[in-house]
Amino acid sequence: MDDTNAIVAEGLVKRYGDTTALDGVDLAVRAGTVLGLLGPNGAGKTTAVRVLATLIPPDAGHATVGGHDVVRRPHEVRGLIGLTGQYASVDESLTGTENLLMIGRLLGLSRPAARDRARTLLERFDLSDAAGRAAGKYSGGMRRRLDLAASLVGHPRLLYLDEPTTGLDPRSRNEVWEIVRGLVRDGVTVLLTTQYLDEADQLADEIVVIDHGRVIATGTPASLKARTGAQTVTVRPAFADQLARVRDAVGRVAAGPAVVTGEIVTAPVSDPGALAKLVRDLDEHGLTVDELALRSPSLDEVFLSLTGANS
């Protein structure tokens, strides 16, 4: 195996009855980097993580983690990885401390060592005040942090984060992102699944887009965005009677047709100077706007563009 790759998967197939969750997935994650596995619900992201975490065997194909085959050497793989996310969870009826203590003991730490490790992790994740409370009473953000702490008890070299921020508010999401960046700085290899392009963009060195159990695109965030092309400009006129003229102004800089939805004008743009041009144009025509924003393509748009390009 290529020793610069921490995870290598080739041709993974997993079926559940008539449903094919994975349909020949290839992946390679370089040691010390973050791979973002991006896809909508039901794309096969979680199944891929479960195979790579030795929780389920693939029906075909093979995978190695740290050079160990996930089917033949599951125990060695488990010794290297930490798993956290939507399906691998902490025990809600135990306190934060007890959850970490249990895992420390299971990993072979002595009682005092497990206690030390629990305290250190709770402090690091800002959970010291909640250490004695049942995890079931934690907020969504705190739970996710405890989940992360639980997966780090054994100092894993590889961390699997399965949709670590789904359902979190923006502040908690940023906290989780900061934690992940810190881990990567310490040399941890991360496999991240997400439904959010933004999250993959923020964290991943490389993105693999999967849909219906197949890899439909691979590349750096920048190259994927380039492939998906346009960003979208959104403008909300301050006065309703200027809507048509604002639409015309947007149309002049847009790469496609300007569309009016309610009181909002949207249009795709590809020219990097489009926004500046639009501001000048609006100003020259005496048009006032309440809101003017340029946003990256949404996941839907990325998919449309990628699946469109592939078919």
Binding site: R50, A53, T54, L55, H75, E76, R78, G79, I81, G82, L83, Q86, Y87, A88, S89, V90, D91, E92, S93, L94, T95, E98, M102, I103, R105, L106, L107, G108, A134, A150, S151, G154
Partner: protein, 253 residues
């Protein structure tokens, strides 16, 4: 990292027991319900069944203990199913620990809970007038027999847990199957008062043989026959349900 099956099991048993501290309802579940049954059976049926509550208690306490024990075996499955549906099991299985430690840990913890429930019922029964006519060795033997039986039967609960989609379904299964089986037995009445076909069922019912064995060990009387049959049933449950459970366990998790 090496596996330490016994230590892993002990840690996970600790985890199951420490949950009680945070979820007092669980304590109610396995303490208050048997107490309620004991009081109701003694004082509601006692007079009609045996002339007086105290008289009936002597007969029925072993039956109440056995019925509660059989119901409580379902807790193993309910707990396992909850762990699976909440994702705790995936976390445990992603760790380099002994593969069957999560199962063994829960079963060990449930045996401790069972011992507590037996002691509670026996203690309260004695407060209400039940008298142990034998010695400490016989009482210990009764505990041992009950716990061996419970451990074997809990494999059925594990099997149901692996097949059921939700913890509630495990509970419903337990009630629907165990309620009639434990009632159609010699636990609360003499089977000879039943219609012939039901009497025949009650006589071979594992509830009956286990209850008779416990009666013998606590109040005196024949022990060997019912105890051997109890162990035969326990062995039967183990031989049938343990392999099926392990197969279902491997398939599910």
């Amino acid at each position: 990292m090496t596996t330490m099956p016994l230590r892993n099991t002990a840690t996970l048993a600790w985890r199951t027991l420490v949950q009680i501290k945070h979820n007092p309802f669980e304590l109610i579940d396995f303490s208050v319900q048997p107490i309620m049954f004991l009081l109701l059976f003694t004082y509601v049926f006692g007079g009609a069944m045996a002339g007086s509550p105290a008289e009936y208690l002597t007969f029925a306490l072993p039956g109440i203990i056995v019925q509660n024990l059989i119901f409580a075996t379902m807790n193993t499955g309910i707990g396992l199913n909850t762990d699976i549906s909440k994702g705790v099991f995936d976390r445990l299985r992603s760790l380099p620990i002994s593969r069957f430690a999560p199962l063994a840990g829960r079963i060990s913890a449930d045996v401790i809970k069972q011992a507590w429930a037996i002691a509670l019922l026996l203690g309260l029964g004695m407060v209400l007038g039940f008298r142990i006519e034998t010695g400490p060795v016989a009482v210990l033997a009764a505990f041992g027999l009950l716990l061996v039986f419970a451990m074997s039967l809990s494999w059925l609960s594990v099997l149901v847990a692996m097949l059921a989609s939700a913890p509630e379904k495990v509970q419903i299964f337990g009630f629907v199957v165990f309620f009639p089986i434990t009632m159609a037995s010699g636990a609360f009445v003499d089977p000879s008062t039943m219609p012939g076909w039901l009497e025949a069922f009650a006589e071979i019912n594992p509830t009956t043989v286990l209850t008779d064995a416990v009666r013998g060990l606590l109040s005196g009387g024949p022990v060997a026959g019912p105890a051997i049959w109890s162990l035969v049933w326990a062995a039967g449950f183990l031989v049938v349900f343990a392999p099926l459970s392990v197969r279902a366990f491997r398939r599910r998790v």
